[in-house]
């Protein structure tokens, strides 16, 4: 069994080393691929807080991914057409500034997570899965019919949004932005998991009855986790949209919600680097096998089957064993 910290450092080395190599040998496509993996990883880090710590199987995380995407798309669309987003009750202009877009993405997806969480957390188990899926489908069909912003065709943004002092069109610089955000989210996750809130949330997943008996509100703990989770996934949606300079209703699709869950399961539910490993494996398979066949998901299915059947705790569980306990 490999020490988990050592393994995480190895993954970090891959995250930095591969793009560095690609930069030196002038392979911008590899950098873009790695950016894609990092953005997916961020989406899954978000889900892992709800799923891994809180035990909430959300099949609707594409809602937050899509909201982040549309936050970027709508703001940038209005900026490039020089029209205000709204004139009532006061004028809101579009923007091409990434920090502003990120803020809007985080705020909007948190609000959505608050509302969806309050309604969904009245249920548990398979009903929770279904209700989150239902919300995802509602957003999906809403954006399909939202003709102002391209409906089914989505929205294209011609120039990537800007970050003060950086050239975001340079693949390696945009990769750097995404990686720093991912590392920040992982650091936050690390602290969160060990904090009193994390301890209570983790117990609420395992034994809600106990949490109530010590006087804590397990539903409220899970709701806060769901909001934090939605906010992080929302931020990843904004980054994903900027990576592709395009948003469409597929960002809200239930397949995407499923993929985010798959990243977490492949890597290891509740493991800090689980989402990162899952997203890296997914993007690697997509790239390597996608060339062989359009139906490369079959191989992904086999991998998932193998991990679920034989590897409790995902790839990290298989390689590093059970999580070590804190003293």
């Amino acid at each position: 069994m490999v020490n988990e910290r050592l393994f995480n450092l190895l993954i970090l080395a891959i995250l930095i080393g591969v793009p560095a190599w690609a930069y030196v040998s002038d392979e911008p496509f590899i950098i873009t691929l790695m950016t894609r993996a990092v953005v997916f990883a961020l989406a899954a880090v978000g889900l892992n807080i709800a799923l891994g710590l809180g035990g909430l199987v959300s099949l609707g995380h594409a809602v937050f991914f899509g909201i982040g995407g549309y936050a970027m798309g709508i703001l940038a669309f209005h900026a490039q057409t020089f029209t205000p987003v709204t004139e009532w009750p006061f004028v809101i202009e579009g923007t091409k500034s990434m920090p502003v877009i990120w803020l809007v993405a985080v705020v909007m997806s948190s609000l959505a997570a608050l509302v969806i969480g309050m309604l969904s957390l009245r249920t548990a188990g398979v009903y929770f899965i279904m209700i989150t899926l239902a919300f995802g489908q509602m957003f999906f069909f809403f954006t399909i019919s939202w003709s102002t912003y391209g409906g089914e065709d989505g929205l294209s943004v011609y120039v990537r949004n800007g970050f003060p002092g950086l050239n975001t069109l340079d693949p390696i610089q945009y990769f750097g932005i995404c990686l720093i955000i991912l590392m920040t989210a992982l650091t936050f996750n690390l602290f969160l998991a060990k904090s009193p809130f994390g301890l209570a949330l983790n117990a609420a997943r395992q034994t809600p009855q106990r949490v109530e008996t010590v006087g804590l509100n397990s539903t409220r703990l899970k709701l806060v986790a769901f909001v934090i989770s939605g906010a992080i996934t929302g931020l990843s949606g904004a980054l994903f949209a900027d990576l592709n300079r395009f948003v469409s209703p597929t960002m809200f699709s239930w397949q995407l919600s499923g993929e985010i869950i798959i990243f977490v399961i492949i890597g290891g539910v509740g493991r800090l680097f689980g989402p990162v490993v899952g997203a890296l494996v997914f993007v690697a398979l997509e790239h390597l096998l996608g060339g062989l066949s359009d139906y490369w998901h079959i191989y992904l299915g086999f991998l998932l089957l193998g991990i679920v059947l034989f590897g409790k705790g995902g790839l990290i569980g298989m390689i590093c064993g059970r999580e070590t306990v804190d003293a």
Partner: protein, 249 residues
């Protein structure tokens, strides 16, 4: 006369035509251990659930520390000082013994909204947790995962978590269940001391423990309290002998 810490008035719970508890009025005085015994299906678990607030009674009231708590939630009852241990351990099995106990200490502070400093580095939480573990004798296995504990150690941990909340009264659902004879003797000794801190309403099948500990015993049969009294009174009671003790001899 001492004011009871905990009192029920005519607690009744009907499931359809079945009355799981029927007009149960019992009380718990300061410093005492009041045992509730009765055959399987007598309604003991339903009674506990109603006292602790996880089941709403069909009729009747629960009074705790002189206040009517019938309408408040289980969580709020815990906050006012009702310490409960479960028959089937409700512990976070993937967490360590210390983490489970720190959870109790965290609950007692009422503020889980702390997101940065590790829970185990909060010295005030940790000292409450560690002293509770020392009292039940689990300090040596503090860093063991709960699912690696023996059955008896889990029962001890249940009590330790309840202790962190510094309760004014304990409600214990079969704390001896599944303990070996040595384990139940040790726990009996511990509960004997604990009563000086807070009275205990003890639901228990282990008659040796009940007779060693109880100041008073109530016998519950088919949801009704058929007798309440000292050990001697209960032993002599003809109804009880017929309904319950007689079955075993």
């Amino acid at each position: 006369m001492l004011e009871p810490i905990l009192r029920t008035h005519g607690l009744t719970k009907s499931f359809g035509a079945l009355k799981a508890t029927d007009d149960v009025s019992i009380d718990l005085l300061p410093g005492e251990i009041h045992a509730v015994i009765g055959p399987n299906g007598a309604g003991k678990s339903t009674l506990i659930a109603q006292i602790c607030g996880t089941i709403k009674p069909s009729a009747g009231r629960v009074e705790f520390l002189g206040k009517d708590v019938t309408s408040i939630s289980a969580r709020q009852r815990s906050l006012t000082g009702l310490g409960r241990t479960f028959q089937i351990s409700a512990l976070a099995m993937e967490d360590t013994v210390l983490q489970n106990t720190v959870l109790g200490a965290l609950g007692a502070t009422g503020n889980p909204w702390r997101f940065v400093r590790p829970a185990l580095k909060h010295s005030e939480l940790r000292s409450v947790a560690e002293s509770a573990l020392e009292r039940v004798g689990l300090e040596d296995v503090m860093h063991t995962r709960t699912d690696e504990l023996s059955h008896g150690q889990r029962r001890q941990l249940e009590v330790a978590v309840a202790l962190t909340l510094d309760p004014r009264a304990f409600v214990m659902d079969e704390p001896m269940a599944g303990l070996g004879s040595e384990g139940s003797i040790r726990l009996t000794g511990f509960l004997d001391e604990l009563r000086n801190e807070a009275p205990i309403l003890l639901v228990e099948h282990d008659m040796d423990a009940v007779f060693a500990l109880a100041d008073r015993i109530s016998v519950l049969v088919y949801g009704k309290v058929i007798a309440t009294g000292s050990i001697e009174e209960i032993r002599k009671n003809a109804d009880v002998q017929e309904a319950y003790l007689g079955d075993e001899s």
